[in-house]
């Protein structure tokens, strides 16, 4: 009897993956404070995922350091499939450029990307340009004349803009703010010339005519901003930088567990209820899994490393 128990215990320890996953609650770390964009996206997704997986999901918000605090803490988790990280791309691909982090993009098991949105550059209605091309030409012709507000020094938004500027030889003065809300306030008050940030806060002002959005940082144009050019049409398609969200696990996760989770995420992200929720935030679903996701993370990391280095921000 005793032997049997020990054998069973040893077996159970040696072959955790053979058990039907998931058999207990999953903890999801969000490296951002409660209530922000990443948090609301992940919480909404978690409620749908709970149904799909038939287990409960506990959310743990660990804020700080532009996401690096939560991600670093997550590194201590074991790859059992019961600890996951729901993050936006910046802590993984941008923060390691400008901070000394204990992790690299390859320190995780990629599971699935979930949703994405582009950043946009907007000017006031009097700005002497009405198209994306004319906008870049005006900036190029006047080096150092225009100021653009962004989400923070070395943040994804700034690097996204600088990728475009550098490939066109543009010099604009970056004014870092605490977030898109602060940038928007200073843009509307005329304290900075160009709004740089996510689409949803500035969207209502394109309707009232107080903002003219001329560029988005995605290759394709964005439906909600008809005047803004996508990068593809400017011949800058390779310089796309998005704000996107993903679910990662600790390195070395079991392939079957990853497959179960990817499939569940693919289904829940494309659930009409979630797609509708994303639309209110100006985001669209885009599920990328497996090797393609690894390539997406690494490709963005490498491209942003080049920009950060050119700006003298690299660690």
């Amino acid at each position: 009897m005793k032997h049997l128990a020990i054998t069973a215990a040893v077996l159970a320890l040696a072959t955790p993956a053979f058990a039907e996953y998931p058999e207990r609650a999953i903890e999801v770390t969000i490296p951002a404070p409660a209530g922000g964009g990443t948090d609301t996206s992940a919480r909404k997704l978690a409620t749908l995922l709970e149904e799909e997986l038939g287990t409960s999901i506990a959310i743990l918000n660990v804020a700080g350091g532009g996401g690096s605090v939560g991600v670093t803490q997550f590194m201590l988790q074991k790859p059992t499939g019961y600890s996951l990280l729901a993050t936006w791309n910046s802590p993984i691909t941008t923060v390691p450029q400008v901070q000394q982090t204990a992790y690299q993009p390859d320190s995780f098991t990629p599971i699935a990307s979930t949703s994405e949105t582009a950043y946009t550059l907007c000017v006031n209605p009097d700005f002497p340009a009405d198209t994306g091309e004319a906008f870049l030409e005006e900036l190029a012709a006047n080096p150092g004349k225009y100021t653009y507000g962004n989400d923070g020094i070395g943040g994804t938004m700034q690097l996204a803009a600088e990728r475009i500027f550098q490939s066109r030889g543009i010099e604009a003065v970056a004014i870092p703010f605490g977030g898109a809300g602060e940038t928007l306030q200073n843009f509307l008050g005329g304290h900075v010339d160009i709004y740089g940030g996510s689409i949803s806060p500035v969207l209502p002002y394109t309707e009232t005519g107080e903002a003219k959005c001329l560029l988005v940082t995605s290759a394709a144009p964005v439906k909600a901003l008809p005047q803004a050019a996508g990068l593809e049409s400017l011949g800058l398609g390779d310089e796309e930088t998005l704000l996107w969200r993903m679910v990662l696990g600790p390195a070395g996760m079991d392939a079957d567990v990853v497959a179960t989770l990817s499939a569940a995420l693919e289904k829940t992200v494309n659930d009409p209820a979630y797609v509708e929720f994303l639309a209110t935030k100006g985001e669209i679903p885009n599920v990328v899994t497996g090797a393609a996701l690894t390539a997406r993370v690494q490709g963005e990391y490498d491209a942003l490393a080049k920009v950060a280095k050119a700006l003298g921000l690299s660690q």
Partner: protein, 498 residues
Amino acid sequence: MGLISEILGGVFAAGPIVAMIGASILGVFIGALPGLNPVMAIALLLPLTYSMEPLVALGMVAGIYNGSMYGGAIPAILLRIPGTPAAIATTFDGYPMAQKGEAARALKIACWSSAIGGVASAIALMTIGPILARATLYFGPAEYFWIAMFGMASIGVMVGSDAVKGLMAAALGLLLGTVGLDQLSGVARFTFGEVWLLSGLDLIVILVGLYALPPVISLAEASDIKGLSASDLKLEAVKVPWSEVRGLVPTWLRSSLIGIGVGILPGAGGNIAAFLSYNAAKSASDQPESFGTGNPQGVAAAECGNNSDNAASMIPALTLGIPGNVIAALVLGALLIHGLQPGPQLFHQNPGLVGGFMVQMLLTSLLILAVGGAAATRIFAQVQRLPGVLLVPMILVLMAVGVYVINGRVIDLWVMFAAGAAGYILEKINVPLAPIVLGLILGPMAEQSVRRALLISRGDPTELFTRPLSAVIALATLGLVLWPILKGLKARRRPQAQ
């Protein structure tokens, strides 16, 4: 007429009413328990309301927000422990009043002042919100720099008897405020390679440690094992005479205006509103020396100031789509989840909902009178009867839980204890703590703003003085610094003339 009935019909439905009343009671409790704060409570509860109708969620936010700003005053008055950072200024005169046996009177004044501040703020939100919001757009980095300097100049009023110690405390606050990733250069300052320090020291963690721990240690030192008997607890309904109420009216008016002004400008918040209101009341008083010894005006100013910040802080969020603080950001997040698009069109597209939320901010301010005056104050005042041996561990557990939940980090508990130990020692050697708080809050605001302003002006410092608005605030700051000096000179000349 149709709009008003639509708004009132939405607000006076069963769900929103239950949400407002429940949340007001909960808010008072959250405010009264040190460590727990409204931001955390709203962030944790809001996701639970996503499936309900929006006015239930918004009623809950309004109740918790307004209730907690009053709730913070209860332990501030009874135990000298501010329940929320915004109640720090309430301890200055609230606790001395309680020591004089006027706890019930102080609580009553706090309750009425909170409600009045909240109502004034809600009225501002409903009537001149859009105008105020547009006015905030004139405030660029140069103006924000001067606002921070104006706040810091008020340290002069707060340093107490020993100016050198006060200034040293302010310098300590400024130093603590520099810790973390510099927002303008991306350089890590004083982080010693620690990742958790990159985002700086968490303000609430420091404030809970600095302000709540020293009184708890004092309680423990008293090693009281019996507690007060029911007869020692003077909580019979006290009448605040009409003459005294009339004396408080100017303070309420002044504090409401200050709170609304601080509220519409992002970055400061209820604690600064309370400090500035307290200072203004002290400066305007005939007996400034009676402040800090249990002057009801001090309690009224602080409590009215921190509540009148609330509804006003929603103005930029509801009219421009720009959240001025975390709670406003949470409200915008909730609106997004319900499929609403925050921005200048929000009210026009959803008048019933936005108007309803405004009415809820007003109603929950009035609910403070019912919830706070009748029920909560009486229940919480019983806390005074608990012996120290029970009270101390209970408060410590609550503080630890509250602080841990903010960022989900154990290290914050150590930061809290370190701040508490420092606060205890500083109090013993008569160093005032308020300047530390102001330095910690306003230092980063001043530094970032002035550097942003100089980035925008390409390094030209005249920009700080020549934009008309920046010049006005700069002159006001100068006036604030010179005012006590002039007053002192006048006072000195008068005896000579006689």
